[in-house]
C-alpha cells in the first residue's frame, strides 16, 4: 500500500522501499534516503539524500505545516478511504472551499446546470464567492439554505450521478 500525500494541490505517492540501514523511500517512482537527526519542539533536523536540513513543522489533523528552505508548505495526508469515496462519487459534489455563510441560493433541485453555473453564493470575511457546478448535469439536492454556516470542505450541493451513456 502506498501513502498518498498532496502538496500544492498535486498528489504524490510514497512507498517505503527499505527500513535499514537508512529509510529508503520511493516517491513518484524515484528513490530517496531519509534519516531523522534530531530536533526540539517545532524545529527538526533530518538528513535527506545526504543533505542535512533543518525545518519547522506542526501538524493539524491530516495536514502538516512546514517551514523549510525559506518557504511555507502545507502537505495533506490523503486517507485512502477518502480517496476511494471521492472516486466513486465523482465531481458531482459541490464543496465549500472555505468556511463561511450562504448568501444566496441560485438554483433549485431538479434544475439542469451547465459547468460554470453558479449554484450558491457564499460569503467569508466580507468576500463573496460563487460556488459553481464543475460539470453539466442536473442538481440533485441543495444541503444549505440562505444564512446557513458551514465549515471548509462541507458539501453544500450535489449533482445527480452521471448516467453512463454511449451517446
Amino acid at each position: 500500500m502506498k501513502l498518498k500525500l498532496r502538496l500544492n494541490g498535486t498528489p504524490h505517492e510514497m512507498d517505503i522501499a527499505a527500513l535499514k540501514p537508512d529509510l529508503e523511500l520511493r516517491i513518484d517512482g524515484r528513490s530517496h534516503a531519509l534519516r531523522e537527526t534530531g530536533g526540539i519542539g517545532a524545529l527538526r533536523r533530518a538528513r535527506i539524500d545526504g543533505e542535512d536540513i533543518a525545518y519547522h513543522q506542526a501538524r493539524s489533523g491530516n495536514r502538516a505545516f512546514l517551514h523549510l528552505g525559506g518557504r511555507n508548505w502545507i502537505v495533506e495526508f490523503v486517507d485512502p478511504r477518502d480517496a476511494a469515496r471521492e472516486k466513486v462519487q465523482g465531481s458531482g459534489d459541490i464543496r465549500a472551499p472555505m468556511p463561511g455563510v450562504v448568501v444566496s441560493v441560485e438554483k433549485q433541485p431538479g434544475d439542469p446546470v451547465t459547468a460554470g453555473d453558479t449554484i450558491l453564493t457564499i460569503e467569508s470575511m466580507k468576500l463573496q464567492t460563487n460556488l459553481t457546478a464543475e460539470r453539466d448535469g442536473v442538481l440533485a439536492e441543495i444541503l444549505k439554505s440562505e444564512g446557513d454556516v458551514f465549515e471548509k470542505g462541507a458539501i453544500v450541493a450535489r449533482l445527480q450521478e452521471e448516467e453512463d451513456s454511449d451517446a
Binding site: 502538496l7 527538526r44 533530518a46 535527506i48 501538524r59 505545516f65 518557504r71 495526508f77 468576500l127
Partner: protein, 496 residues
Amino acid sequence: MGHDTPPFKRILIANRGEIACRVIDTCRRLGVETVAVHHLSERDARFVRLADTSAEITGDTPVAAYLDADQIIATARETGAEAIHPGYGFLSENSNFARAVEAAGLVFIGPAPDTIDLMGDKIRSRQFAEKNGVPVAPSVTGGEDIDAFVEKAASIGFPLLIKASAGGGGKGMSIVEGQQDLLTRARTARSEAERYFGDPTIYAERYIERPRHIEVQVLGDGTGKVLHLYERECSVQRRFQKIIEEAPAGHLDPALRDEICAAAVRLSEAVYYRNAGTVEFILAPDGTFYFLEMNTRLQVEHPVTEMVTGLDLVALQLDIAAGRGLSLDQSEITLTGHALECRVCAEVPEQDFMPATGRILHLDPPAGDNIRFENGLREGTDVTLDFDSMLAKLVVAAADRPAAIDAAKQALERTVLLGVETNLNYLARILSHPAFRDDPLHTGFVAEHEAALAEPDLSPHEAARVLMAAALTFREFRTLAFDAPEPYASIGGWRN
C-alpha cells in the same frame, strides 16, 4: 515628546488584534495605563494579556461588540479611562461615536466629529477639496441631453471612462479613446444604464491607465497647524485591498512629491484638522494627481512612515488629543532610508486570495533592529472568520529601496507561521519580481503579473524533500517507518 508627565493616566482602546497591541506598546513607554475590550472568544488573546486590564464586551457577533458605541463608552467610564483610542476600522470613523465619547466627558483620540462627517461624504469631501485647490478627477454626470453630455465629456480629455451612474460590475462601462467614438459609446452606455439599472444617467471621468495609489500622512493639532510626514505608496493591492505599502514612494520625482504633500497639507489646514490623518491620491503616469479621500484615523500602514521619520504616530496622537499640540516643526521632519510593509494574511493566493482559517500552532517571527512584526498572535490563537484575514504586518527598513526590498524578502523567508495557510510565499514572490523593483508600481500590478506571481512548479527533488519532512510528522508514516517489527524491514512495502 519632551513632556515629563504622561498625556493621559488611562485610556481605553476600542479595538483588538495587532493595532491594540501597537497602541498598548506606546502607552507603556509613556506610562499611560491601558484598558482593552474583548469578546469572550478572544479572552486569551495577546492584546488582552498586554493591556493593564481588559473588560469583556458582548454582542451577537464579535464584530457587533466592537461596533456597540454605548457599551464601549460605558466600559470606559466604569474602568476610569479618560480617553478612547479607536484604532482603525470599527468605530474609528463614526462621527456619532466621537460625539457620544465627548458627550460622556471623555476624550476621543481622533478628529472633530464634523471633520469625520465631511471627509466621510464622497461628494462633499470632493467639493471641499476642489474649493481648497486640491485637484479632483474631472467628471461629468448627465445623459438626458446626450449632446451636452458629449461636449462636456470631451472637454475633460481622453481616454475617458463612461459608466452608468447607478451601476457597478462593469455593465454599461466603456473606455473611450477619442472623440470619434464618444457619441456612439455614450448612447450605448445610456441605453445599457437604462436596461440594467432602470436609470439612464451616465457618468464620465478621465480614465487613468496604470494609476498609482499615493497617500500623505498628516498631523494636525486642530488650530490649523498641519505637518506632513511625507508619502506612502500603496499601489500593490488585491481584491481592492492593500497588501504591500512603502515609504517613501519609489520612482517619484521630488518636485511632484512636494506638490502632492503640499496639497494634502492645504486640505488638512482648511479643515483645521486634528489628529493623525491620511490624504489619499491617485497619481497618473503623466504626473497629474487627484484627491481620492481622506482617512481620519491611524492607518494600517502607518509603521512605514514611523520607520523613515523616526516618529511615533500614536504618541503624537495622544499629545494632540491631550491638548498639548504639536511641538514639532516641518523642518524637523526628515526622511531616512526606505521602509516596506507586507500584510501577512490568512488566505490562499492560488484560489483568488480566499480567506483561510486555522490555529496558530507555531510562531517564530523574524527579529532585528530594522524589523517590526506587528501582530496580535500567540500560539494557540484561532484564526476564524470573525475578523479580517490580516494576521500580522511585517515592516522592514533599510538604507534605500533596493536594500529594503532585499531585507523584506529575507524577513518574509524567515517568518515561521504554522497552522494556517498564509500569503507569505506570495508576498516574497512579489518582492522578487523585477517589475516591483525596477518600474513604477500601479494598482493593477497583481493582475498584470498574475502568471509570473503564480506558485512555481516544484522540481521532483524539491517536492521530495518537503514530502519527506512532512511524512515524518504523520503517525501513519512513523508507525510504518519506525515501529514496524523486524520482518517488515526485510519484506519492504506496507501491509495492512
